[in-house]
């Protein structure tokens, strides 16, 4: 319950994440942060800056460049009484730790007949938009969301940046928390008493009646922008923020589409085999007879993300593409 003397404070998405980390470290001595350059460097994206000074090198642990070992060590530490937060710098590098995540973290509980819990949080940056080219710009959230045993969170708003970590730590399962690199500098206001948020449902970010725009993480700001543009053109779009990719809150999605009868899914992953495909398939399964038009997907072009600005922009879902897809779906294309 937010206290009545809470005030609204200006903050950035990065600061909200940092506040969440600090609070978690203060609240529970079992919590610690480990990863490459989280300490002395201050975090690749400066999220953990200052925490080493505050909590010391035992709890803010710089690791060697050994993704498999330190992610796996996080699993082991979680099995053995700690509450680790492991940071992997970028989702691309997480491929080096995927064996540990998929073959161990996701399986140990079920395969042992329920003997173990793995209260582990793995944070990683994801997404493109900073001209970092083909080896630093992937969006593989959908892959993680495919794996039973994992939970997958994609905060988009300041509230979620501030509040999802605490909920993830309270969860006895391995949770992957994706931070889109395009969000860190987003500014806004947040209640001074903002805290844990639920991590089991999607949110309606904008109510609307004519179509549902479904997105998550880094695509939320531009999807909302597209909705405003559409409104100016007389099209009333609802915007759903998935927030949690696994387990997926199908009910909220289906309810929205039952109402609007049309949907566009925005996903920064490559189109083929994207998470957007899953959303589309579920809607087709559960709201088939309510659909008035084919579901559309706005995804990244199927290329390794190029460095050059104009090419990177061309590869990624942009506001105009969302607007275009929406207009097509509501049947108002020129």
């Amino acid at each position: 319950m937010p206290g009545s003397d809470a005030v609204m404070v200006r903050t950035t998405w990065r600061e909200a994440m940092r506040a969440a980390l600090r609070e978690a470290l203060q609240a529970d001595p079992r919590v610690f942060l480990m990863g490459e350059d989280v300490g002395h460097y201050g975090g690749c994206y400066a999220v953990s800056r200052g925490l080493l000074e505050e909590f010391g090198p035992e709890r803010i642990r710089d690791t060697p460049l050994s993704e498999s070992a330190f992610v796996g060590a996080g699993i082991g530490a979680a099995l053995n009484g700690m509450r680790p937060i492991v940071e992997v710098m970028t989702v691309n590098f997480s491929l080096l730790a995927l064996d540990q995540i998929v073959n161990n973290a996701a399986t140990l509980r079920h395969m042992s007949g329920g003997q173990f819990a793995i209260p582990l949080v793995i944070r990683m940056a994801t997404g493109a938009g900073r001209q970092l080219a083909a080896q630093h710009s992937h969006s593989l959230e959908g892959w993680y969301a495919h794996v039973p045993g994992l939970k997958v969170l994609c905060p988009a708003t300041l509230e979620d940046a501030r509040g999802m970590l605490a909920s993830a730590l309270a969860d006895p399962n391995p949770v992957i928390l994706f931070e889109h690199v395009g969000l860190y500098n987003v500014e806004g206001t947040l209640r001074s008493d903002a805290g844990a948020v639920p991590i089991d449902r999607a949110a309606v970010r904008r109510a609307g009646t004519q179509l549902s725009l479904i997105a998550y993480g880094g695509m939320i700001p531009r999807t909302l922008e597209a909705a405003e543009k559409l409104a100016a053109q007389g099209i009333d779009a609802e915007v759903i923020d998935l927030r949690v990719l696994r387990p997926l809150d199908t009910a909220t999605l289906v309810a929205s589409v039952r109402k609007t009868r049309r949907a566009v899914i925005v996903d920064e992953g490559w189109r083929s085999g994207s998470f957007a495909a899953e959303i589309s398939a579920r809607l087709a399964e559960e709201a088939f007879y309510e659909l008035d038009a084919p579901i559309a997907r706005v995804c990244s072009a199927e290329v390794p993300i190029p460095y050059a600005r104009h090419m990177e922009l061309a590869a990624l879902p942009q506001v105009e593409a969302i607007v275009g897809a929406a207009r097509e779906v509501v049947g108002t294309h020129a």
Binding site: S66, S68, A77, N80, R109, M111, G113, P119, G149
Partner: protein, 328 residues
């Protein structure tokens, strides 16, 4: 610190090894009879490692093993009936029948698997030890793996991390000279595996893995320094598997004569001969031991046979923990 286990319990060591040997032989039969399925990896010939190492640990210590882990589990104290039931795929198995031979787990014995990814248990072991260290516990994590695991990147990353952070892990490399069908000389440019450990500034020793007393002595010494906070250690245990890699292996890659030569060093025969020479064992004593072991094993098989199948409705149970189930 717990009292060091007695080094003059030869009968205990012999019993430990015999339990494993007979268990493995029975498992092979039961595989032939279709009672056990999947991949089955036996450790016949390597019993001295399991017994020597596990005797050096205390209850609070943790164990991380591989897919060739029946012996480790038995020596650690995981009940044979639960293991056998697991391999029968029964709900009474130590993992409700979900893990099978390659994935034995027993939280109550701090036995953290049973891992079927070569070297995949090493990061877990490193993390278990990290938690013990951060929580100020004086526990040791024993991490077992084969010679084949040494080539994996995870081996290297974990050796470095454990040494760098001086974590209480004891790395135990069961060098049986083959990774599946690939001889050590075909997988390592440097076949002295202790040299690898030393390159991380980690003390390392090579031990005769066919001599259970030597293994126990070396493990005790290593555990003591690890427990004392002196950082991780590495033991290479020179051993040999007498049987095929798994039940599918045609053993095209090694000579029968090599196997026979190693069988001359059978750790069970070696110890019982020594005991007989010293007057600590006679034929009657040995056959009493065999019946004791046989009875336990018969009971385990009967337990497994009588076991039930997990209800299919429970298929998705425990994919996730619920908050209530795991508040600890």
């Amino acid at each position: 610190m717990t009292a060091a286990p007695s080094l003059d319990d030869d009968l205990g060591r012999l019993r430990g090894m015999l339990r494993i040997r007979r268990f493995e032989e029975r498992a092979a039969e039961l595989y032939g009879a279709g009672k056990i399925r999947g991949f089955l990896h036996l450790c016949v010939g390597e019993e001295a490692v399991a017994v020597g190492v596990m005797r050096a640990l205390t209850e609070d210590d943790a164990v991380v093993s591989t897919y060739r882990e029946h012996g480790h589990a038995l020596a650690r104290g995981v009940p044979p009936d639960r293991i056998m039931a697991e391999m029968f795929g029964r709900a009474e198995g130590c993992c409700r029948g979900r893990g099978g031979s390659m994935h034995l787990f027993d939280a109550s014995h701090r036995f953290f698997g049973g891992n079927a990814i070569v070297a995949g248990g090493m990061p877990l072991a490193t993390g278990l030890a990290l938690a013990d260290k951060m929580l100020g516990r004086r526990a040791v994590t024993a991490c077992l793996f084969g010679d084949g695991a040494v080539a994996e990147g995870e081996f290297h990353e974990c050796m470095n991390l454990a040494a760098l952070w001086r974590l209480p892990v004891l790395f135990l490399c069961e060098n049986n000279l083959y990774a599946m069908g690939t001889a050590l000389a075909l997988t390592e440019s440097q076949v002295d595996l202790c040299a690898k450990a030393r390159s991380y500034d980690m003390p390392a020793d090579r031990v005769d893995g066919m001599d259970v007393t030597a293994v126990e002595r070396a493990a005790l010494a290593a555990v003591a320094t690890v427990r004392a906070g002196e950082g991780p250690r590495f033991l290479e245990l020179a051993t040999y598997r007498f049987r095929a890699h798994s039940m599918f292996d045609a053993e095209l890659y090694r000579e029968k004569r090599e196997v026979e030569r190693w069988k001359l060093r059978d750790p069970i025969a070696a110890l019982s001969t020594l005991m007989k020479l010293g007057g600590a064992l006679d034929d009657a004593g040995l056959s009493a031991l065999e019946s004791e072991v046989g009875a336990e094993l018969d009971a385990a098989v009967a337990f497994a046979e009588a076991g039930t199948l997990e209800p299919v409705e429970d298929l998705t149970r425990d994919v996730y923990a619920t908050e209530a189930s795991d508040a600890r």
